[in-house]
Protein backbone atom coordinates (compact mmCIF):
# COMPACT_ATOMS: atom_id res chain seq x y z
CA UNK A 1 0.00 0.00 0.00
CA UNK A 2 1.06 3.56 -0.58
CA UNK A 3 2.50 4.72 2.73
CA UNK A 4 2.10 8.44 2.13
CA UNK A 5 -1.56 7.93 1.36
CA UNK A 6 -2.06 5.84 4.50
CA UNK A 7 -0.41 8.44 6.72
CA UNK A 8 -2.39 11.21 4.97
CA UNK A 9 -5.67 9.45 5.73
CA UNK A 10 -4.67 8.86 9.35
CA UNK A 11 -3.69 12.49 9.88
CA UNK A 12 -6.89 13.73 8.25
CA UNK A 13 -8.92 11.33 10.38
CA UNK A 14 -7.15 12.54 13.52
CA UNK A 15 -7.96 16.15 12.69
CA UNK A 16 -11.63 15.72 11.80
CA UNK A 17 -12.51 13.06 14.42
CA UNK A 18 -13.50 15.48 17.23
CA UNK A 19 -15.72 17.43 14.84
CA UNK A 20 -17.64 14.54 13.31
CA UNK A 21 -17.90 12.72 16.67
CA UNK A 22 -18.64 15.64 19.02
CA UNK A 23 -20.16 13.39 21.71
CA UNK A 24 -16.96 11.35 21.96
CA UNK A 25 -14.36 14.09 22.29
CA UNK A 26 -13.27 13.06 25.77
CA UNK A 27 -13.21 9.36 24.86
CA UNK A 28 -11.11 10.13 21.80
CA UNK A 29 -8.72 12.17 23.91
CA UNK A 30 -8.44 9.23 26.31
CA UNK A 31 -7.77 6.92 23.39
CA UNK A 32 -4.77 9.06 22.47
CA UNK A 33 -3.63 8.88 26.07
CA UNK A 34 -3.78 5.09 25.83
CA UNK A 35 -1.75 5.21 22.60
CA UNK A 36 0.89 7.38 24.30
CA UNK A 37 1.28 5.18 27.37
CA UNK A 38 1.25 2.01 25.24
CA UNK A 39 3.90 3.31 22.80
CA UNK A 40 6.14 4.47 25.64
CA UNK A 41 5.62 1.25 27.64
CA UNK A 42 6.73 -0.71 24.59
CA UNK A 43 10.02 1.23 24.41
CA UNK A 44 11.30 -0.70 27.42
CA UNK A 45 8.83 -3.60 27.58
CA UNK A 46 8.66 -4.66 23.96
CA UNK A 47 11.84 -3.29 22.42
CA UNK A 48 14.22 -3.76 25.34
CA UNK A 49 12.69 -6.66 27.27
CA UNK A 50 12.21 -4.78 30.54
CA UNK A 51 8.57 -5.11 31.56
CA UNK A 52 7.90 -2.17 33.82
CA UNK A 53 4.74 -2.13 35.92
CA UNK A 54 5.76 1.23 37.28
CA UNK A 55 5.35 3.55 34.28
CA UNK A 56 2.17 4.83 35.95
CA UNK A 57 4.55 6.47 38.43
CA UNK A 58 5.56 8.93 35.70
CA UNK A 59 1.93 9.60 34.83
CA UNK A 60 1.05 10.44 38.44
CA UNK A 61 4.23 12.37 39.06
CA UNK A 62 3.70 14.32 35.86
CA UNK A 63 0.26 15.33 37.12
CA UNK A 64 1.61 16.60 40.42
CA UNK A 65 4.58 18.42 38.94
CA UNK A 66 2.40 20.16 36.35
CA UNK A 67 -0.22 21.10 38.95
CA UNK A 68 2.37 22.51 41.34
CA UNK A 69 4.09 24.47 38.57
CA UNK A 70 0.76 25.71 37.18
CA UNK A 71 -0.50 26.86 40.59
CA UNK A 72 2.74 28.49 41.63
CA UNK A 73 2.63 30.76 38.59
CA UNK A 74 -0.29 32.51 40.33
CA UNK A 75 -0.43 31.52 44.02
CA UNK A 76 1.36 30.02 46.97
CA UNK A 77 0.91 26.26 46.60
CA UNK A 78 0.34 25.56 50.32
CA UNK A 79 -2.39 28.21 50.62
CA UNK A 80 -4.05 26.95 47.45
CA UNK A 81 -4.13 23.26 48.41
CA UNK A 82 -5.14 24.17 51.98
CA UNK A 83 -8.28 25.83 50.69
CA UNK A 84 -9.05 22.61 48.74
CA UNK A 85 -11.01 24.48 46.11
CA UNK A 86 -12.90 26.45 48.78
CA UNK A 87 -11.21 29.80 48.35
CA UNK A 88 -11.61 32.02 45.33
CA UNK A 89 -8.63 31.49 43.14
CA UNK A 90 -8.79 33.04 39.72
CA UNK A 91 -6.28 32.35 36.97
CA UNK A 92 -5.74 34.67 34.05
CA UNK A 93 -5.57 33.10 30.56
CA UNK A 94 -1.84 33.70 30.59
CA UNK A 95 -1.43 31.91 33.91
CA UNK A 96 -3.66 29.04 32.79
CA UNK A 97 -2.03 28.33 29.44
CA UNK A 98 1.40 29.21 30.77
CA UNK A 99 0.76 26.66 33.54
CA UNK A 100 -0.05 23.91 31.05
CA UNK A 101 2.95 24.73 28.92
CA UNK A 102 5.57 25.14 31.63
CA UNK A 103 3.95 22.42 33.75
CA UNK A 104 4.22 19.94 30.88
CA UNK A 105 7.87 20.68 30.25
CA UNK A 106 8.72 20.53 33.95
CA UNK A 107 6.75 17.26 34.30
CA UNK A 108 8.57 15.68 31.38
CA UNK A 109 12.01 16.68 32.61
CA UNK A 110 11.33 15.78 36.22
CA UNK A 111 9.99 12.33 35.25
CA UNK A 112 12.98 11.70 32.99
CA UNK A 113 15.28 12.48 35.92
CA UNK A 114 13.22 10.17 38.16
CA UNK A 115 13.58 7.37 35.58
CA UNK A 116 17.35 7.69 35.68
CA UNK A 117 17.41 7.52 39.49
CA UNK A 118 14.87 4.68 39.81
CA UNK A 119 16.43 2.86 36.89
CA UNK A 120 19.86 3.07 38.49
CA UNK A 121 18.48 0.91 41.30
CA UNK A 122 15.93 -1.29 39.52
CA UNK A 123 17.77 -2.10 36.28
CA UNK A 124 19.92 -4.50 38.28
CA UNK A 125 16.76 -6.61 38.52
CA UNK A 126 15.74 -8.98 35.75
CA UNK A 127 12.45 -10.43 34.58
CA UNK A 128 9.60 -10.46 37.10
CA UNK A 129 11.77 -8.81 39.75
CA UNK A 130 12.07 -5.69 37.64
CA UNK A 131 8.30 -5.64 37.08
CA UNK A 132 7.53 -5.99 40.78
CA UNK A 133 10.28 -3.57 41.79
CA UNK A 134 8.94 -0.82 39.57
CA UNK A 135 5.36 -1.54 40.64
CA UNK A 136 6.53 -1.10 44.24
CA UNK A 137 7.90 2.34 43.40
CA UNK A 138 4.54 3.44 41.95
CA UNK A 139 2.54 2.10 44.90
CA UNK A 140 4.89 3.67 47.44
CA UNK A 141 4.78 7.01 45.61
CA UNK A 142 0.96 7.02 45.71
CA UNK A 143 0.99 6.37 49.46
CA UNK A 144 3.66 8.99 50.14
CA UNK A 145 1.91 11.67 48.13
CA UNK A 146 -1.47 10.98 49.71
CA UNK A 147 0.12 11.77 53.08
CA UNK A 148 1.77 14.95 51.87
CA UNK A 149 -0.42 17.91 52.76
CA UNK A 150 1.51 20.46 50.72
CA UNK A 151 0.13 18.82 47.57
CA UNK A 152 -3.34 18.26 49.00
CA UNK A 153 -2.83 14.90 50.73
CA UNK A 154 -5.44 12.22 50.05
CA UNK A 155 -7.84 14.87 48.70
CA UNK A 156 -5.69 15.54 45.70
CA UNK A 157 -5.61 18.83 43.82
CA UNK A 158 -8.31 20.83 42.05
CA UNK A 159 -7.11 22.86 39.08
CA UNK A 160 -8.86 25.73 37.30
CA UNK A 161 -11.28 24.88 34.49
CA UNK A 162 -10.60 25.77 30.88
CA UNK A 163 -11.09 29.54 30.52
CA UNK A 164 -13.54 29.65 27.67
CA UNK A 165 -16.20 27.63 25.96
CA UNK A 166 -16.68 24.18 27.49
CA UNK A 167 -16.71 22.45 24.09
CA UNK A 168 -13.67 24.31 22.83
CA UNK A 169 -11.94 23.09 25.98
CA UNK A 170 -12.68 19.51 25.05
CA UNK A 171 -11.31 20.04 21.55
CA UNK A 172 -8.27 21.78 23.03
CA UNK A 173 -7.41 18.78 25.21
CA UNK A 174 -8.14 16.35 22.40
CA UNK A 175 -5.55 18.07 20.24
CA UNK A 176 -3.00 18.25 23.05
CA UNK A 177 -3.18 14.47 23.44
CA UNK A 178 -3.36 13.83 19.68
CA UNK A 179 -0.37 16.11 19.09
CA UNK A 180 1.66 14.42 21.81
CA UNK A 181 0.63 11.00 20.52
CA UNK A 182 1.78 11.82 16.99
CA UNK A 183 5.03 13.25 18.35
CA UNK A 184 5.68 10.06 20.34
CA UNK A 185 4.92 7.92 17.29
CA UNK A 186 7.27 9.88 15.04
CA UNK A 187 9.92 9.84 17.75
CA UNK A 188 9.89 6.08 18.33
CA UNK A 189 9.68 5.39 14.58
CA UNK A 190 12.90 7.36 14.19
CA UNK A 191 14.48 5.90 17.34
CA UNK A 192 13.93 2.31 16.22
CA UNK A 193 15.70 3.07 12.95
CA UNK A 194 18.90 4.20 14.70
CA UNK A 195 21.76 2.23 16.21
CA UNK A 196 20.25 3.02 19.59
CA UNK A 197 17.12 1.10 18.61
CA UNK A 198 19.24 -1.87 17.56
CA UNK A 199 21.09 -1.76 20.88
CA UNK A 200 17.74 -1.84 22.72
CA UNK A 201 16.79 -4.98 20.78
CA UNK A 202 20.18 -6.54 21.51
CA UNK A 203 19.62 -5.97 25.23
CA UNK A 204 16.23 -7.63 24.93
CA UNK A 205 17.45 -10.63 22.92
CA UNK A 206 20.58 -11.38 24.96
CA UNK A 207 21.81 -8.84 27.46
CA UNK A 208 24.86 -10.90 28.44
CA UNK A 209 25.95 -11.10 24.83
CA UNK A 210 25.43 -7.36 24.46
CA UNK A 211 27.68 -6.78 27.47
CA UNK A 212 30.28 -9.16 26.10
CA UNK A 213 30.31 -7.12 22.87
CA UNK A 214 31.01 -3.93 24.81
CA UNK A 215 27.60 -2.28 24.53
CA UNK A 216 26.94 0.31 27.28
CA UNK A 217 23.87 -1.62 28.46
CA UNK A 218 23.06 0.31 31.64
CA UNK A 219 23.52 3.66 29.94
CA UNK A 220 21.13 2.76 27.12
CA UNK A 221 18.56 1.27 29.49
CA UNK A 222 18.53 4.46 31.54
CA UNK A 223 18.28 6.71 28.49
CA UNK A 224 15.49 4.62 26.95
CA UNK A 225 13.43 4.65 30.13
CA UNK A 226 14.07 8.36 30.65
CA UNK A 227 12.77 9.11 27.16
CA UNK A 228 9.63 7.05 27.85
CA UNK A 229 9.19 8.76 31.22
CA UNK A 230 9.54 12.18 29.61
CA UNK A 231 6.52 11.58 27.36
CA UNK A 232 4.44 9.87 30.05
CA UNK A 233 5.13 12.78 32.39
CA UNK A 234 3.82 15.23 29.79
CA UNK A 235 0.75 13.04 29.26
CA UNK A 236 0.15 13.16 33.02
CA UNK A 237 0.52 16.94 32.95
CA UNK A 238 -2.13 17.30 30.25
CA UNK A 239 -4.42 14.88 32.11
CA UNK A 240 -4.13 16.95 35.29
CA UNK A 241 -5.54 20.04 33.55
CA UNK A 242 -8.06 18.04 31.54
CA UNK A 243 -9.52 16.25 34.58
CA UNK A 244 -9.60 19.48 36.67
CA UNK A 245 -9.53 17.46 39.87
CA UNK A 246 -7.34 14.45 40.60
CA UNK A 247 -6.63 12.22 43.59
CA UNK A 248 -3.34 10.49 44.39
CA UNK A 249 -4.47 6.84 44.47
CA UNK A 250 -7.50 6.66 42.17
CA UNK A 251 -6.33 9.02 39.47
CA UNK A 252 -2.65 9.86 39.57
CA UNK A 253 -0.94 6.65 40.70
CA UNK A 254 -3.73 4.37 39.42
CA UNK A 255 -1.61 1.22 39.35
CA UNK A 256 -4.44 -1.25 38.75
CA UNK A 257 -6.19 0.76 36.04
CA UNK A 258 -4.06 2.66 33.58
CA UNK A 259 -0.91 1.08 35.03
CA UNK A 260 -2.06 -2.38 33.89
CA UNK A 261 -4.11 -1.27 30.89
CA UNK A 262 -1.04 0.08 29.09
CA UNK A 263 0.57 -3.35 29.30
CA UNK A 264 -2.57 -5.09 28.04
CA UNK A 265 -2.79 -2.64 25.11
CA UNK A 266 0.73 -3.54 24.03
CA UNK A 267 0.21 -7.30 24.40
CA UNK A 268 -3.05 -7.07 22.47
CA UNK A 269 -1.50 -5.16 19.59
CA UNK A 270 1.87 -6.91 19.59
CA UNK A 271 4.90 -6.02 21.71
CA UNK A 272 8.16 -4.97 20.16
CA UNK A 273 6.51 -3.58 17.04
CA UNK A 274 5.90 0.00 15.91
CA UNK A 275 2.18 -0.29 15.18
CA UNK A 276 1.26 -2.93 17.77
CA UNK A 277 0.86 -0.54 20.70
CA UNK A 278 -1.23 1.84 18.58
CA UNK A 279 -3.55 -0.88 17.31
CA UNK A 280 -3.76 -2.49 20.74
CA UNK A 281 -4.57 0.80 22.46
CA UNK A 282 -7.40 1.52 20.03
CA UNK A 283 -8.82 -2.01 20.33
CA UNK A 284 -8.57 -1.99 24.09
CA UNK A 285 -10.11 1.43 24.46
CA UNK A 286 -13.04 0.62 22.19
CA UNK A 287 -13.61 -2.68 24.01
CA UNK A 288 -13.51 -0.91 27.36
CA UNK A 289 -15.90 1.88 26.34
CA UNK A 290 -18.35 -0.60 24.83
CA UNK A 291 -18.39 -2.84 27.89
CA UNK A 292 -18.67 0.17 30.21
CA UNK A 293 -21.73 1.33 28.28
CA UNK A 294 -23.48 -1.93 27.52
CA UNK A 295 -22.33 -4.42 30.16
CA UNK A 296 -22.73 -2.32 33.25
CA UNK A 297 -22.05 -4.36 36.36
CA UNK A 298 -20.08 -6.89 34.33
CA UNK A 299 -17.57 -4.51 32.77
CA UNK A 300 -14.70 -5.53 35.04
CA UNK A 301 -15.40 -9.20 34.44
CA UNK A 302 -15.37 -8.66 30.69
CA UNK A 303 -12.16 -6.65 30.94
CA UNK A 304 -10.57 -9.32 33.14
CA UNK A 305 -11.56 -11.99 30.63
CA UNK A 306 -9.98 -9.96 27.83
CA UNK A 307 -6.74 -9.64 29.81
CA UNK A 308 -6.64 -13.37 30.59
CA UNK A 309 -7.34 -14.39 27.00
CA UNK A 310 -4.70 -11.95 25.70
CA UNK A 311 -2.02 -13.04 28.13
CA UNK A 312 -2.70 -16.77 27.83
CA UNK A 313 -3.62 -17.28 24.17
CA UNK A 314 -2.64 -14.18 22.25
CA UNK A 315 0.70 -13.07 23.68
CA UNK A 316 2.16 -11.92 20.39
CA UNK A 317 -0.87 -9.78 19.64
CA UNK A 318 -2.28 -8.66 16.33
CA UNK A 319 1.10 -7.76 14.86
CA UNK A 320 2.69 -11.00 16.02
CA UNK A 321 -0.15 -12.94 14.43
CA UNK A 322 0.22 -10.99 11.18
CA UNK A 323 3.99 -11.58 11.12
CA UNK A 324 3.36 -15.29 11.44
CA UNK A 325 0.72 -15.34 8.70
CA UNK A 326 2.21 -12.74 6.37
CA UNK A 327 5.98 -12.56 6.98
CA UNK A 328 6.53 -11.04 3.52
CA UNK A 329 4.64 -7.89 4.61
CA UNK A 330 7.44 -7.29 7.08
CA UNK A 331 10.26 -8.07 4.67
CA UNK A 332 11.22 -11.21 6.58
CA UNK A 333 12.62 -14.28 4.94
CA UNK A 334 12.42 -17.72 6.41
CA UNK A 335 15.01 -20.36 5.67
CA UNK A 336 13.66 -23.66 4.44
CA UNK A 337 16.65 -25.32 2.88
CA UNK A 338 19.24 -25.04 5.65
CA UNK A 339 19.91 -28.76 5.84
CA UNK A 340 20.21 -29.36 2.11
CA UNK A 341 22.30 -26.24 1.54
CA UNK A 342 24.79 -27.41 4.12
CA UNK A 343 24.91 -30.89 2.64
CA UNK A 344 25.82 -29.46 -0.76
CA UNK A 345 28.80 -27.46 0.55
Amino acid sequence: MNKTLLYGILIAGTIIAPFILPDYRTQLATMWLMIIVALTWDMTGGQMGYNSLGNIFFYGTGMYVAAVVGISLAYNVADYTNAAGGGIYKFTDGQYFGGIFLGSIAAGLFCAACAVIIGWITFGLRGPYFAIGTLGVAIAAGELVSNWDWVGGGQGIALPVYPGDFNIGKIFFYFLFAGLGCAVFIFVKWLYSTRFGAAMNAIRDDEEKAEAMGIHTLRYKLIAWAMAAFFVGIAGAISAFQLIHFEPLETAYQTINLGIFMVVCVLLGGKGTLWGPVIGAIMFHVFKEVTWNYLLGWQWVALGALIVVTVVYFQDGVMGWLMLKRPEWFGMKVEQKTASAEAVK
Partner: protein, 247 residues
Protein backbone atom coordinates in the same frame (compact mmCIF):
# COMPACT_ATOMS: atom_id res chain seq x y z
CA UNK B 1 57.12 -10.35 20.97
CA UNK B 2 55.22 -8.65 23.77
CA UNK B 3 52.95 -10.40 26.19
CA UNK B 4 49.52 -8.85 25.70
CA UNK B 5 47.65 -10.91 28.31
CA UNK B 6 49.38 -11.89 31.53
CA UNK B 7 47.51 -14.13 33.96
CA UNK B 8 49.26 -14.66 37.29
CA UNK B 9 48.27 -17.11 40.05
CA UNK B 10 44.56 -16.86 39.27
CA UNK B 11 42.23 -19.03 41.32
CA UNK B 12 38.48 -19.48 41.07
CA UNK B 13 36.16 -21.80 42.97
CA UNK B 14 32.46 -22.49 42.63
CA UNK B 15 31.40 -23.36 46.16
CA UNK B 16 33.57 -26.40 46.92
CA UNK B 17 34.66 -26.99 43.32
CA UNK B 18 38.11 -25.56 42.60
CA UNK B 19 37.79 -24.76 38.88
CA UNK B 20 41.09 -22.87 38.56
CA UNK B 21 44.01 -23.08 40.97
CA UNK B 22 47.00 -20.72 40.75
CA UNK B 23 46.97 -20.52 36.96
CA UNK B 24 49.70 -18.45 35.30
CA UNK B 25 49.76 -18.04 31.53
CA UNK B 26 50.86 -15.51 28.96
CA UNK B 27 49.46 -14.65 25.54
CA UNK B 28 51.95 -13.18 23.07
CA UNK B 29 50.86 -10.25 20.94
CA UNK B 30 50.16 -11.18 17.34
CA UNK B 31 50.30 -14.93 17.90
CA UNK B 32 47.91 -17.82 18.27
CA UNK B 33 47.86 -19.35 21.71
CA UNK B 34 46.06 -22.60 22.42
CA UNK B 35 44.41 -23.80 25.62
CA UNK B 36 43.57 -27.48 25.86
CA UNK B 37 42.48 -29.87 28.55
CA UNK B 38 39.86 -32.53 29.22
CA UNK B 39 36.23 -31.57 29.80
CA UNK B 40 35.73 -29.88 33.15
CA UNK B 41 39.41 -28.99 33.52
CA UNK B 42 38.58 -25.29 33.92
CA UNK B 43 39.24 -23.82 30.47
CA UNK B 44 35.96 -21.89 30.15
CA UNK B 45 36.31 -20.73 33.76
CA UNK B 46 39.69 -19.18 32.93
CA UNK B 47 38.21 -17.37 29.92
CA UNK B 48 35.37 -16.10 32.06
CA UNK B 49 37.87 -14.78 34.60
CA UNK B 50 39.89 -12.97 31.94
CA UNK B 51 36.89 -11.20 30.39
CA UNK B 52 35.48 -10.15 33.76
CA UNK B 53 32.46 -12.43 33.68
CA UNK B 54 32.92 -13.25 37.36
CA UNK B 55 35.18 -11.98 40.14
CA UNK B 56 38.29 -14.08 40.73
CA UNK B 57 39.28 -15.38 44.15
CA UNK B 58 42.91 -14.34 43.85
CA UNK B 59 45.70 -13.47 41.45
CA UNK B 60 46.15 -10.84 38.79
CA UNK B 61 45.11 -10.45 35.16
CA UNK B 62 46.77 -7.85 32.95
CA UNK B 63 45.83 -6.76 29.46
CA UNK B 64 48.38 -4.51 27.72
CA UNK B 65 50.03 -4.05 31.13
CA UNK B 66 46.78 -2.79 32.67
CA UNK B 67 45.22 -4.68 35.60
CA UNK B 68 41.73 -5.71 34.44
CA UNK B 69 40.66 -8.24 37.08
CA UNK B 70 38.39 -5.68 38.78
CA UNK B 71 36.83 -4.32 35.59
CA UNK B 72 33.39 -5.20 34.25
CA UNK B 73 32.64 -7.26 31.16
CA UNK B 74 31.64 -4.28 29.00
CA UNK B 75 34.68 -2.24 29.97
CA UNK B 76 37.04 -5.10 29.15
CA UNK B 77 35.29 -5.69 25.82
CA UNK B 78 35.69 -2.02 24.96
CA UNK B 79 39.42 -2.26 25.67
CA UNK B 80 39.52 -4.64 22.71
CA UNK B 81 39.53 -7.97 24.54
CA UNK B 82 36.60 -9.94 23.16
CA UNK B 83 35.30 -13.48 23.63
CA UNK B 84 32.94 -15.86 21.88
CA UNK B 85 30.81 -18.30 23.83
CA UNK B 86 31.14 -22.08 23.92
CA UNK B 87 27.34 -22.24 23.71
CA UNK B 88 27.29 -19.73 20.79
CA UNK B 89 25.35 -16.56 21.43
CA UNK B 90 23.82 -14.55 18.63
CA UNK B 91 20.67 -12.41 18.47
CA UNK B 92 18.33 -15.06 17.10
CA UNK B 93 15.44 -12.75 16.23
CA UNK B 94 17.60 -10.54 13.99
CA UNK B 95 18.92 -11.38 10.56
CA UNK B 96 22.66 -11.85 9.95
CA UNK B 97 23.26 -8.30 8.76
CA UNK B 98 21.56 -6.84 11.83
CA UNK B 99 23.65 -9.12 14.02
CA UNK B 100 26.74 -7.73 12.33
CA UNK B 101 25.71 -4.08 12.59
CA UNK B 102 24.96 -4.34 16.31
CA UNK B 103 28.50 -5.69 16.73
CA UNK B 104 30.20 -2.51 15.52
CA UNK B 105 32.88 -1.49 18.01
CA UNK B 106 31.24 0.55 20.75
CA UNK B 107 34.55 1.74 22.13
CA UNK B 108 34.62 4.22 19.29
CA UNK B 109 30.99 5.32 19.47
CA UNK B 110 29.75 8.51 21.07
CA UNK B 111 26.13 8.93 22.10
CA UNK B 112 25.70 11.03 18.98
CA UNK B 113 26.80 8.08 16.84
CA UNK B 114 24.21 5.93 18.61
CA UNK B 115 21.40 8.23 17.55
CA UNK B 116 22.30 7.99 13.90
CA UNK B 117 21.76 5.24 11.38
CA UNK B 118 24.37 2.81 10.18
CA UNK B 119 26.46 4.15 7.33
CA UNK B 120 26.99 2.64 3.91
CA UNK B 121 30.51 1.72 5.03
CA UNK B 122 29.05 -0.21 7.99
CA UNK B 123 26.82 -2.23 5.67
CA UNK B 124 29.72 -2.90 3.32
CA UNK B 125 31.91 -4.03 6.18
CA UNK B 126 29.13 -6.36 7.39
CA UNK B 127 28.73 -7.84 3.92
CA UNK B 128 32.47 -8.28 3.49
CA UNK B 129 32.87 -10.16 6.76
CA UNK B 130 29.78 -12.31 6.13
CA UNK B 131 31.36 -13.17 2.81
CA UNK B 132 34.60 -13.95 4.64
CA UNK B 133 32.93 -16.59 6.83
CA UNK B 134 30.75 -17.88 3.99
CA UNK B 135 27.36 -16.59 5.13
CA UNK B 136 26.82 -13.92 2.49
CA UNK B 137 24.00 -15.83 0.76
CA UNK B 138 22.21 -16.16 4.07
CA UNK B 139 22.65 -12.59 5.21
CA UNK B 140 18.94 -11.70 5.25
CA UNK B 141 17.82 -14.83 7.04
CA UNK B 142 16.72 -14.77 10.65
CA UNK B 143 19.88 -15.91 12.38
CA UNK B 144 17.95 -18.14 14.78
CA UNK B 145 16.95 -20.27 11.80
CA UNK B 146 20.58 -21.03 10.87
CA UNK B 147 22.21 -24.36 11.74
CA UNK B 148 24.40 -24.51 14.85
CA UNK B 149 27.58 -24.47 12.77
CA UNK B 150 26.42 -21.44 10.80
CA UNK B 151 25.54 -19.66 14.02
CA UNK B 152 29.10 -20.28 15.21
CA UNK B 153 30.45 -18.77 12.00
CA UNK B 154 28.14 -15.79 12.45
CA UNK B 155 29.37 -15.28 15.99
CA UNK B 156 32.95 -15.35 14.69
CA UNK B 157 32.08 -12.77 12.02
CA UNK B 158 30.40 -10.59 14.67
CA UNK B 159 33.57 -10.72 16.74
CA UNK B 160 35.63 -9.61 13.72
CA UNK B 161 33.16 -6.77 13.12
CA UNK B 162 34.04 -5.51 16.59
CA UNK B 163 37.73 -5.13 15.60
CA UNK B 164 39.18 -6.67 18.75
CA UNK B 165 42.86 -6.60 19.60
CA UNK B 166 42.62 -10.03 21.17
CA UNK B 167 39.91 -12.58 20.48
CA UNK B 168 39.22 -15.42 22.91
CA UNK B 169 37.45 -18.29 21.15
CA UNK B 170 35.81 -21.00 23.23
CA UNK B 171 35.81 -24.23 21.20
CA UNK B 172 35.21 -22.63 17.79
CA UNK B 173 34.98 -25.96 15.95
CA UNK B 174 32.71 -27.82 18.38
CA UNK B 175 29.48 -28.81 16.65
CA UNK B 176 30.73 -27.76 13.25
CA UNK B 177 30.32 -30.18 10.37
CA UNK B 178 33.76 -31.94 10.08
CA UNK B 179 33.94 -31.15 6.35
CA UNK B 180 33.83 -27.43 7.21
CA UNK B 181 36.51 -27.50 9.88
CA UNK B 182 39.44 -27.03 7.50
CA UNK B 183 37.76 -23.95 6.06
CA UNK B 184 37.28 -22.56 9.56
CA UNK B 185 40.92 -23.20 10.51
CA UNK B 186 41.94 -21.28 7.40
CA UNK B 187 39.71 -18.34 8.36
CA UNK B 188 41.02 -18.29 11.92
CA UNK B 189 44.56 -18.12 10.56
CA UNK B 190 43.62 -15.31 8.19
CA UNK B 191 41.96 -13.39 11.04
CA UNK B 192 45.34 -13.62 12.73
CA UNK B 193 47.58 -12.81 9.77
CA UNK B 194 45.42 -10.48 7.65
CA UNK B 195 43.46 -8.65 10.36
CA UNK B 196 46.27 -8.81 12.89
CA UNK B 197 44.09 -10.13 15.69
CA UNK B 198 45.84 -12.01 18.49
CA UNK B 199 43.99 -15.28 19.08
CA UNK B 200 43.62 -17.26 22.27
CA UNK B 201 41.73 -20.45 21.49
CA UNK B 202 40.22 -23.14 23.68
CA UNK B 203 40.05 -26.27 21.60
CA UNK B 204 39.04 -29.77 22.49
CA UNK B 205 40.06 -31.10 19.09
CA UNK B 206 43.85 -31.63 19.38
CA UNK B 207 44.39 -31.93 15.63
CA UNK B 208 42.89 -28.50 15.04
CA UNK B 209 44.89 -26.61 17.59
CA UNK B 210 48.22 -28.36 16.96
CA UNK B 211 47.97 -27.04 13.43
CA UNK B 212 47.49 -23.42 14.38
CA UNK B 213 48.98 -22.53 17.73
CA UNK B 214 52.51 -21.33 18.26
CA UNK B 215 52.23 -21.69 22.03
CA UNK B 216 50.04 -24.06 24.05
CA UNK B 217 48.85 -24.54 27.59
CA UNK B 218 47.19 -27.65 28.97
CA UNK B 219 44.90 -27.65 32.01
CA UNK B 220 43.85 -30.68 34.05
CA UNK B 221 41.68 -30.67 37.18
CA UNK B 222 41.86 -26.90 37.36
CA UNK B 223 45.66 -26.76 37.39
CA UNK B 224 48.21 -25.91 34.73
CA UNK B 225 49.63 -29.25 33.66
CA UNK B 226 52.02 -28.31 30.88
CA UNK B 227 53.04 -25.54 28.51
CA UNK B 228 55.17 -25.38 25.40
CA UNK B 229 55.15 -25.60 21.63
CA UNK B 230 52.59 -27.91 20.00
CA UNK B 231 55.34 -30.49 19.52
CA UNK B 232 56.37 -30.39 23.16
CA UNK B 233 52.75 -30.66 24.30
CA UNK B 234 52.01 -33.50 21.91
CA UNK B 235 54.87 -35.54 23.30
CA UNK B 236 54.35 -34.63 26.95
CA UNK B 237 53.53 -37.80 28.85
CA UNK B 238 51.42 -35.94 31.45
CA UNK B 239 49.24 -34.48 28.70
CA UNK B 240 48.79 -37.84 27.03
CA UNK B 241 47.85 -39.38 30.37
CA UNK B 242 45.40 -36.61 31.19
CA UNK B 243 43.66 -36.97 27.85
CA UNK B 244 43.64 -40.76 27.96
CA UNK B 245 42.55 -40.74 31.57
CA UNK B 246 39.68 -38.49 30.76
CA UNK B 247 38.19 -40.76 28.12
Amino acid sequence: MNKIIEVKDVSKSYGGVVANKDISIEVQEGGITGLIGPNGSGKTTLFNSIVGYHPIDGGSIKFQNQEISKLQVQDIARLGLLRTFQQTRIYGAMDCVQNMLISLPHRKMSLNDMFSRNTKADYEKADRLLEFVGLYEKRFLRSGSLSFGQQKLLEFAMALMNEPTVLLLDEPTAGINPTLINGLIDRLRRANTEFGITLFIIEHNMRVIMNMADKMYCLAHGELLAEGTPDEIQNDQRVIDAYLGAH
